[in-house]
Amino acid sequence: MAEPAAVQASTNGGSPPVLEVRGLSKQFPIGGFFGRKQLHALEDAWFSLHRGAITALVGESGSGKSTAARLVARLLPPTSGEILYAGIDVLQSESRQASRTYRSKVQMVFQDPFGSLNPVHTVGYHLERPLRIHDKAGRGDEVRERIDELLQTVGLTPPRDFREKYPHELSGGQRQRVSFARALAVEPAILLADEPISMLDVSIRMGILNLMARLKDERGIAMLYITHDIASARYVSDETIVMYAGRMVEGGRTDAVIQGAAHPYTQLLLSAVPNPKAGPSTYAGGRSGLPSLIDPPDRCPFAARCPRVMEICERQMPERSQVTPDHWVRCHLNTTANGPAASVSSERR
C-alpha cells in the first residue's frame, strides 16, 4: 500500500515525528502445531508520535490497540512493517530485540497498577532500579534526590511519605502514579500508556489524565494513549485514531475526528457513550456481531454491521482518504461521496 499522506500530516505543524510506524502488522498463528490459520491482531498500521503531543488509540477489546502498543514497546516482534525512531528503522538496526538505548527512549505504563509493581519492593526500590540500570544517577544522595524529584513530578508529595512504602500500602491511583514515575526515571522521549485509568476509581481518573497532559507539556514527551473510552481520548489527546478489528479506520486531529466523525463505526461508538449532560442517549442501535480476526477476507471489517454498507465494502478494504487536511478515514463512503479526487493514497511525499 502506498504511504498515506495523513501519516505525515500531523497536528504538530510539520515538526518531524519522534516515532513513526509504517505498515505495522502482527499475526498470531492459531489452531495448534499444524494450524495454518492466522489471527490478524493488527493490520497495516500507520501512525506517528510527535514531541509534546498525545496520540490516542481508541477501540474496543480485540481491536488491536494494545497489540500496537506492545509492538512499539518491542515486547512482541511484528510480522511485518517498520518502526522508525529518529528516522532509523529499529527493527532492522536491532533486529533481535530492543536495545537498552531503545528502552531508555520508549517506556510503557500498563493497565493494572496492582500487577505491574513488585509487592516485595518499596516505591523507592522501583524507582532506583531504572536509574541505576540506565545510569541516570550517580550514587547515594543523587539517586535519592532523583527519586524525590520523580515522586514530586507525579504528584506523590511529600516524597518522604512514599519512598519507603510498599505497593499494598498505596491506593490504585497512587500505584499508577508510581508506574508513571518509574517510566519517567529513564527520561524517555516516548511514553506508551495502555489503558492507564480503566482500573482506577472514577474520582481519581482525571488526576492521572491531567498528569499525562502535564508531562507532555512540561517535558515534551510524545505519548501514545491506549483507551476504550473515547471521551477520555477527547479530553487529553491531540490526535485520535479509531481502531476496529485490527485496522485503523479513522484518525486525525482529535476535535476533527470527534466532531466530524466520518466512519460509521466511529459514529456508532460515539453514540454509545453515555453522556448525561447531553440528555437522553442518542444511541441508535446497530446490528451487533463480532468481526472475525482469523484470516479475514479483503473487505471492510465493519461491513457486516454497517448501516450504510455498499456492495464494494464486501470485496475491498478501503484505502485511506482525507476528509479534511487533518482528518482521514478508511471508508468507501468518503471516496464515493466526494469522488476519487478525495483519495490521497497515491500522493507521496
Binding site: S171, N210, A272, P274, N275, K277, G286, S288
Partner: protein
C-alpha cells in the same frame, strides 16, 4: 428535617414499597477487628422503579446487593438493620423460604457473566434448571420457555444448546439476564451488569433491559461505579461513600443540582464529548481504607469545603429539598449528627 428510614422513599410513591432497606449494617470480621463495610443505610424501591446505587470500589455497594439476598460469604456478617420485600423480613426467612424467595421474588445479575454460568452445561440446561427447581412443569415445557426467554433477550433460540464458551461476552450476559427473568421476579438486582463489556454491546444490553422492564414491569436495583450510566436510566439514585449513603435524589435532580461535594466531584470526573473541552479535576486524594475510616464526615479528608466540626461530627442524611436527601453539614443550619446527638443525650 431528619430523615427516618421510611421517609427515604420515592416522592411519587403511592403504594407500599416493593423493597425496603432499613439501617442496614454489614461487618467484615478481620483479624484486625471488624470492618464496617455498610454503615446504616436505608432506601426503598417502588414497584416498577429503577433505583441506582453508585459508588467507587470499597464503598459497600456490592455488599448491599449481597446482603439483601442473603448471599454474603463469611467473614461478612449482617450486624444490624432490616430488609423487607413486600413487607416481609428477608432476614427472618427459613432456608426453604429463602430458596423460594431467590429467583422468584428477587433475581440477580452479577458482574462477570463469564463466571456466572456453568461452563459444562448448555445454556438451555441452565435456564431449564432454574425453572424446574421452582415450578412443577415438564422438561419439554421448560425447554420451550427457555427458548422463548432467549429470544426475549435477543439471542436466537437456535443457540439453546450452546455452551457458554461458544458465546460472546455480550451473549453470555444476555443469557444470565434470561435466567434472571425465568421466574418473572418482581425485583432484579444488577451488580455492574455491563462493566466487562464493550461500550456498544453495553448500550445494546441496557436498551434491551429497559425494553423488558417496560414490558414486564419488574423493578431494578442497578449497582455501578459509573454514574453516567445511571443518570439516563434510573428513576432515583443513591450515592454511596465509605459505607454510607451521602446523597439520594431523583436522577434528573441529582444531575442538575448535585448537593454533596462528593457527588459534585463525581459529576466533574466525566469528560464530555460535546461542547468546549474543559479542565476537569476529579476529586483529590483516594477513597478511604475501611479498616480506619475517617472520623466525622468520611469525605472530609478529600473535601474542599471542610470545616473543623466536620472532622468530628457524622452528618445525617436529611431532606434538603423535596425528595432530595443529602448527608452533608453544609446543608444543615449547624453541624449535627451522631456526636451531637450523643452530647444532647447526656444533657437531656
Amino acid at each position: 428535617m431528619l430523615a427516618p428510614a421510611s421517609a427515604v422513599s420515592s416522592a411519587r410513591a403511592t403504594g407500599p414499597p416493593l423493597l425496603e432497606v432499613r439501617d442496614l449494617q454489614v461487618d467484615y470480621l478481620s483479624p484486625r477487628g471488624p470492618v464496617r463495610a455498610v454503615d446504616g443505610i436505608s432506601f426503598s424501591i417502588q414497584p416498577g422503579e429503577v433505583f441506582g446505587l453508585a459508588g467507587e470500589s470499597g464503598s459497600g455497594k456490592s455488599t448491599v446487593a449481597h446482603a439483601l439476598i442473603r448471599i454474603l460469604p463469611p467473614p461478612a456478617v449482617i450486624s444490624g438493620g432490616e430488609v423487607l420485600v413486600r413487607g416481609r423480613s428477608v432476614f427472618a426467612l427459613s432456608d426453604a423460604e429463602l430458596e423460594r424467595f431467590r429467583w422468584r421474588e428477587v433475581a440477580m445479575v452479577f458482574q462477570s457473566a463469564m463466571n456466572a454460568l456453568n461452563p459444562v452445561m448448555t445454556i438451555s440446561d441452565q435456564i431449564e434448571d432454574t425453572i424446574l427447581a421452582h415450578e412443577p412443569v415438564s422438561k419439554r415445557m421448560a425447554r420451550e420457555r427457555a427458548a422463548a426467554l432467549l429470544e426475549t433477550v435477543g439471542i436466537n433460540s437456535a443457540r439453546l444448546d450452546a455452551y457458554p464458551h461458544q458465546l460472546s461476552g455480550g451473549m453470555r450476559q444476555r443469557a444470565v439476564i434470561a435466567i434472571a427473568l425465568a421466574l418473572q421476579p418482581a425485583l432484579i438486582v444488577m451488580d455492574e451488569p455491563t462493566t466487562a463489556l464493550d461500550v456498544v454491546v453495553q448500550q445494546e444490553i441496557l436498551h434491551q433491559i429497559e425494553a423488558l422492564r417496560r414490558e414486564l414491569g419488574f423493578s431494578i436495583l442497578f449497582i455501578t461505579h459509573d454514574l453516567s450510566l445511571l443518570v439516563e436510566r434510573a428513576d432515583r439514585i443513591a450515592i454511596m461513600y465509605a459505607g454510607q449513603i451521602v446523597e439520594l435524589a431523583p436522577s434528573r435532580d441529582l444531575l442538575d443540582d448535585p448537593l454533596h461535594p462528593y457527588t459534585q466531584g463525581l459529576m466533574s470526573s466525566f469528560p464530555s464529548l460535546t461542547g468546549e473541552r474543559q479542565h476537569l479535576t476529579g476529586i483529590p486524594g483516594s477513597p478511604p481504607h475501611m479498616l480506619h475510616p475517617p472520623s466525622g464526615c468520611r469525605f472530609h479528608p478529600r473535601c474542599a469545603r471542610v470545616q473543623p466540626s466536620h472532622r468530628r461530627i457524622v452528618p445525617r442524611l436529611r431532606e434538603a429539598k423535596p425528595g432530595h436527601f443529602v448527608a452533608c453539614h453544609l446543608y444543615a443550619a449547624e453541624p449535627s449528627g451522631r456526636e451531637a446527638v450523643r452530647t444532647g443525650g447526656r444533657h437531656g
